[in-house]
């Protein structure tokens, strides 16, 4: 990752992490961080918190669009397959029906739509999230194993233009966390 910046003699810094005990505190802190002008920051929680992306001013509607287009492709593939088979490659008279008997193509077209859309949803979602990615600098942060249990974290990344080792640390401490710690960047 290119997030790392050099701090004199110290370790490479990924950012500062603040730990909170309650989801509400995290939402408040995220809102204040966004208001303070930070852009490169992220919140970590053991469950999805409603209102948190809005507080972070984070918007991303690509997943629904990916799903939609995958569904459209699935419909075209499903219908096209049947059309190709019954009209061009293997025409067969079944009870006097026309070769292009579209009514009977509907079930398979529908199933293909759902199949492609569902695959698009899962692959698209994990892909945009940058997963699978077994290692990430925040995993090394103190107490971070509790981010999947009962603690809430806010990380301001060093790549943010407004990041300043001392000022950012003091800003995070002003948000009322239980602790603020340094997150070291990955050795490249």
């Amino acid at each position: 990752m290119s997030h790392a910046i050099e701090v004199s003699q110290g370790p490479k810094v990924y950012g500062y992490i603040a730990e909170f005990e309650e989801a509400e505190q995290l939402v408040q802190a995220a809102r204040k961080t966004a208001e303070a002008g930070y852009r490169d920051f992220d919140a970590y929680s053991p469950f999805p918190i409603h209102g948190l992306p809005e507080a972070m001013r984070f918007k991303d509607a690509r997943v629904p669009w990916i799903i939609f287009f995958c569904g459209v492709i699935g419909a075209i593939v499903g219908y096209g397959l049947q059309y190709y088979v019954t009209v061009f490659d293997y025409p067969m008279n079944v009870g006097g029906r026309p070769n292009h008997s579209w009514v009977q193509y509907i079930p398979i077209t529908f199933e293909c739509t759902v199949l492609f859309a569902a695959l698009g949803a899962v692959v698209g979602m994990f892909g945009l999230n940058g997963l699978p990615r077994p290692y990430h600098p925040v995993f090394e942060a103190k107490n971070f194993e509790r981010a999947s249990e009962d603690r809430f974290f806010l990380v301001i990344e060093a790549s943010d233009g407004k990041f300043d080792a001392e000022a950012t640390r003091r800003f995070l401490e002003s948000l009322g966390p239980t602790e603020v710690n340094l997150v070291e960047a990955e050795e490249v």
Partner: protein
């Protein structure tokens, strides 16, 4: 959202007791972490399931060696246990999708405690279902002929046939069910990764969790994808059993050709599925001490859904009788006469007793909260739904239009071997599942708890 935060139906909470995020996590993840603490009942059930899996393997081996002549299928009854069990199992799977997808879209928050378990049931039930048509082809090693692909035979499957629709519907259903289940599992595997001490388990959970770290940006896309997957699964589950019912409804056989089949099959599927969820959940919640997560309310509501879908199914039976009379078609009328008075009449009346009469006990709230009674009713319903497919399939086939082509059907020991074998496979897989995978969605329980816990209510009052 604010309205749904309070418990809509009852005063009793969805999660009982004084909990914390950590205690909820410990309850569910602890089952997987403390491998030495499993109840004796686990071993009994697993050994039983494993024993029956061996019966299944024996039955399949002999079947592949000899051919499907070892079954009782004949002319005119060319479809029997193979298709009965296929429809029975796939129907059982449908409750999982209903709980995980439809109840999610309807914001029925009580689903949180049972969706993971029910989804696992879906996957294993569809595996059991899938075995039957593949083995019924007689040459399962060329089962891939069912799929459309360019081949040197220069032939394609016939897309006008409901049986080919079935191939697409069931394989899509299987794929989407696994995707949905796995997507729900990823954050919980991350929890396991962070908790377990054993190095091997940690690496395994770490790989399964894909490096999930609970980022708010990830959660947002996750929820977008999850809710849309639920929206896709909902019509999918309806389409699967509709297409299964088309296997019959599209033919001209009396007893099969009926426009009521799609809704009546879907309702029957949910009915059988909830019966199976209850059959497993009632003992499981006690063995693993999760009664504060799967509360009496959950049992009560599942019993209500069972009662409702049971009434739809019973309505279907009545409509079939009505059609037989109203159509004035002698073949339809004979079909119904044959169900009532023919050689398989006891099966029909047992079906009415199991699916129509006994479930009426669930009208009473007291009965719905009597665990032994609900457990017994759910077993009766499972039997009833099996009998329903028996009545529809062999009983319709054995006497069709021409008396000269009538016959009788008697299952052989190999039919029962396959049937009980798949039950064993199902039991074994379910018990392996509860041992190695969190059987309740931990992150969803935490999320629910964050909204219903008492402190939160006080905070809201202060704000308001």
């Amino acid at each position: 959202m604010a309205e749904t935060l309070t418990k809509p139906h009852d005063e009793e909470p969805l999660i009982e007791g004084n909990q914390t995020y950590a205690s909820l996590t410990e309850t569910v993840a602890g089952v997987v972490q403390r491998q030495k603490d499993h109840p004796k009942a686990w071993f009994v059930a697993f050994v039983l399931g494993f024993g029956l899996v061996n019966v299944l393997l024996l039955s399949i081996t002999y079947l592949v060696y000899m051919g499907i002549g070892i079954w009782g299928n004949n002319q005119p009854v060319a479809w029997s246990f193979d298709i009965i069990n296929f429809v029975w199992w796939i129907g059982i799977g449908h409750a999982g999708t209903l709980i995980s997808a439809i109840l999610l879209l309807m914001r029925q928050e009580w689903r949180t405690s049972i969706n993971r378990f029910a989804e696992a049931m879906t996957i294993f039930a569809v595996m059991c279902a899938g075995m039957y048509p593949l083995l019924h082809t007689g040459r399962p090693w060329v089962a891939y002929w069912l799929l459309p692909y360019p081949n040197i035979l220069a032939m394609w499957p016939q897309p006008r046939s409901p049986l080919v629709w079935d191939v697409f519907a069931v394989s899509t259903y299987m794929t989407v069910s696994i995707l949905f289940w796995y997507t729900g599992l990823v954050p919980d595997l991350a929890t396991l990764r962070d908790r377990v001490k054993n190095r091997f388990a940690k690496v395994l959970a770490g790989m399964g969790s894909l490096g999930w770290r609970g980022s708010a940006k990830h959660w947002m896309r996750y929820e977008q994808a999850y809710i849309i997957l639920a929206g896709l699964s909902t019509p999918l589950v309806l389409s699967v059993h509709t297409i299964v019912s088309f296997d019959f409804a599209v033919s001209i056989l009396p007893g099969w050709q009926a426009t009521i089949f799609p809704p009546y099959f879907v309702a029957g599927a949910v009915y059988a599925g909830f019966a199976m969820v209850l059959t497993f959940m009632i003992p499981m919640r006690r063995w693993y001490r999760i009664e504060h997560l799967v509360t009496m309310n959950h049992i009560d509501w599942m019993a209500k859904i069972m009662l409702t879908t049971g009434l739809i199914v019973f309505y279907g039976y009545i409509v079939e009788v009505f059609y037989a009379w109203y159509s004035a078609n002698p073949y339809e009328q004979f079909m119904m006469w044959n169900r009532w008075h023919g050689p398989y009449a006891p099966a029909y009346w047992l079906l009415i007793l199991c699916n129509g009469v006994i479930p009426q006990l669930l009208w009473s709230k007291k009965n719905r909260r009597n665990l032994k009674l609900v457990f017994a009713v759910s077993l009766v319903v499972s039997l009833g739904m099996w009998l329903e497919r028996f009545i529809i399939i062999p009983v319709s086939l054995h006497r069709d239009f021409l008396p000269s082509s009538w016959g009788m059907y008697y299952p052989t020991i190999w039919d029962f071997g396959m049937f009980f074998g798949t039950i064993g496979f199902f039991v074994m897989m379910m018990f392996l599942f509860v041992r190695f995978i969190p059987m309740i969605s931990i992150f969803e329980v935490r999320e629910l708890w964050s909204r219903i816990r008492p402190q939160r209510a006080e905070v809201k009052e202060v704000e308001a």
